[in-house]
Symmetry: C2
Subunit: 379 residues, 2 copies
């Protein structure tokens, strides 16, 4: 017997109440009952996205909504600025290239972070750029991007700012309206605490102007179709009913806890994780570490691929290794969504035992103790 | 948001697979389909009870089966030996008294343990004693009784040996047939990892002889009725169908893990808990500590009632305080049923933080480190 723990940056653990909501009998989607669910979900999403605009729900993984933000905003021959500092920045470039979009790339070394001025300079140098594609939390490196600063810079240009907030939404601050972000894209299996299968997108008026002109081919991913249905509290194609029932419950939980409390919980768990890591004499990989996931450098002399494997096979815990060229060099522990005090304790405890087993000179309990100093409530 | 953890000695955490089995649609109980379930459950229970005899399933809590073991075995004016070293030993005396049975009591100070010779002496001194009522794990004090030794002594007398194994079954060794125990009583919400609501009882031929002669009043608790139905793979009254569906799954899980592995897991978790406790300079309460639950003395100068309250209110963890005269003097952490490595880590971690908050000179991480030395798999 081995209990299983999900501590990779998605899919994340689903709360029991949400699992129960997901297993309600299917409501037919063209009924007043389901319309009521959609209305509630729409309101809850606006709260989490911190926007007055509609947030559309689509039956696809997050990548579907990323593609929407390309094939609906751009037109043949358009040029896009893409920040590439990890696997998910690279995905923006791949999608653009699939549609023949010319990509102007800002390449950031893994673990490093783009600055608003780097984007400002590029936009100044090329006024034909239509859209700036960024990644809120670059989960492949554990970096959080300064979206607020970037939005301030992009605002002075004709280009729209698109943010992939798939893994950051509900874990890191993201003020869609206040910061003036044009397009926010998200997914269901991260901070929203439901299974994979839903994506979300929200657009500013400035972005809708681009959508109206876009001539790239699309059908299932058409934002115009989505918008038209949504205005009648409906969806253009069959929605993923049970996932939406789950979402209704998870949004209710987020509202009950309060978004500010959800975000400060993530900040506290991330800080405790970092303190635990540092107390074990390990190094953080990210220059600007995110609150959804902590990337850690594999210590010298250790085969890094072995660490996530031991977590899973020996202790039943799924964490993430490095992706692409980071394979074996970093590992990543998420504290995302339905995560609490003792999830951090469990992760650091397992890490201590694994590192000692691998021959690292670890004092058992030292990392956990450091995490506990952040986590304890009284004092 | 606060995740909830069940670490009291029952009801214990229910595995996801068992919860799913419990929510299958109800099968009518007089059908071939349900007969097949009962057959499988019967076989699984014999495996866990380590007996070739039938183990009967009854819709009641464990106390119902305890009462069965009194009102079916004894007759008016009979005398019973009862070991009273905690709340559950006292319950045997209360049930006997409710039926007018004369109770010969061996009183054991809380935390202490009865010896086989104490029982042997008493039986030698009074040959009219019909039954000896004992408690496998006296969960109120964290003590495990030497049932093997007691069975060896009782064997030489006409009295039958009755064991309340409600909280010990599946956590502590209990070899019904090999040790020669006459009657074993158990409950569902402990080591069997299902919700409360089922009790179990198994009887030797020697015990059945007493049942045949018993003249105490009973109807719902009649073992004769239960036996007759069970011989036709049936139950005398409507069985708790969904709990039995859950039981089928939990027994399948126990069989898959293997009873020996289940027991050694409990031994490992209990040892790790004890090491964690001792590393924090706390004292164990039980002279012979059980593997299902660890009772800890509240440190000097601390209001003991506050400890379980802080566990629950601040950290979402349900542990148990002391019962009756032990209130405020001990607290009890269970590692019972669906419990694994990190449940111990979580319990000791919370304890460290709480004790520090209460002003105890605790080095955070020290208890967890000591537990980890027992828990880690590699080396």
């Amino acid at each position: 017997m081995k209990k299983q723990y999900l501590m990779a940056p998605g899919p994340t653990t689903i709360p029991e109440e949400v699992l129960a909501a997901e297993s309600y009998p299917i409501i037919h989607h063209r009924t007043p009952g389901f319309k009521k669910v959609l209305e509630e979900v729409g309101e809850g999403l606006r709260y989490v996205f911190q926007t007055q605009r509609d947030v559309y729900v689509h039956a696809s993984s997050g990548t579907g909504a990323m593609e929407m933000a390309v094939c609906n905003l751009l037109s043949k021959g358009d040029k896009a600025l893409v920040v590439q500092g990890g696997k998910f920045g690279e995905r923006w470039a791949e999608i653009c290239q699939a549609y023949g979009i010319e990509v102007v790339s800002i390449d950031i070394p893994y673990g490093d972070v783009v600055t608003p001025s780097m984007i400002g300079e590029t936009l100044k140098g090329d006024t034909s750029i239509k859209a700036v594609y960024t990644t809120h939390c670059e989960t492949s490196t554990g970096v959080v991007t300064d979206i607020e600063g970037i939005a301030e810079v992009v605002r002075d240009h004709s280009a729209v700012l698109v943010v992939d907030a798939i893994s950051g939404l509900g874990a890191e601050p993201l003020k869609t309206d206040e910061w003036g972000i044009d397009v926010v894209v998200a997914g269901s299996q991260k901070g929203l605490m439901i299974p994979p299968g839903l994506s979300f997108i929200s657009l500013s008026e400035k972005a809708w102007e681009l959508v109206k002109m876009s001539d790239l081919p699309k059908y299932y991913l058409s934002l115009m179709a989505l918008k038209e249905s949504w205005s009648k509290i409906d969806t253009p194609y069959t929605p993923a009913v049970s996932l939406i029932m789950a979402l209704q419950k998870s949004l209710e939980m987020i509202k009950k806890e309060g978004l500010e409390n959800v975000l400060s919980r993530h900040a506290r768990l991330a800080q405790a994780t970092r303190e635990g890591i540092l107390a074990l004499d390990l190094e953080l990989f990210a220059k600007r570490p995110a609150n959804n996931c902590t990337a850690v450098k594999v210590p010298e002399g250790i085969d890094g691929k072995v660490i996530p494997k031991r977590f899973r096979d020996e202790y039943g815990i799924t964490i993430a290794g490095g992706q692409g060229s980071m394979k074996g060099k970093i590992f990543r522990i998420a504290h995302l969504g339905y995560a609490d005090t003792f999830d951090v304790v469990v992760a650091i405890s397992a890490l201590e035992m694994i590192l000692l087993d691998l021959g690292c000179p670890i004092e058992l309990g030292k990392g956990v103790g450091a995490a506990e100093r952040v986590l304890r409530l009284g004092g």
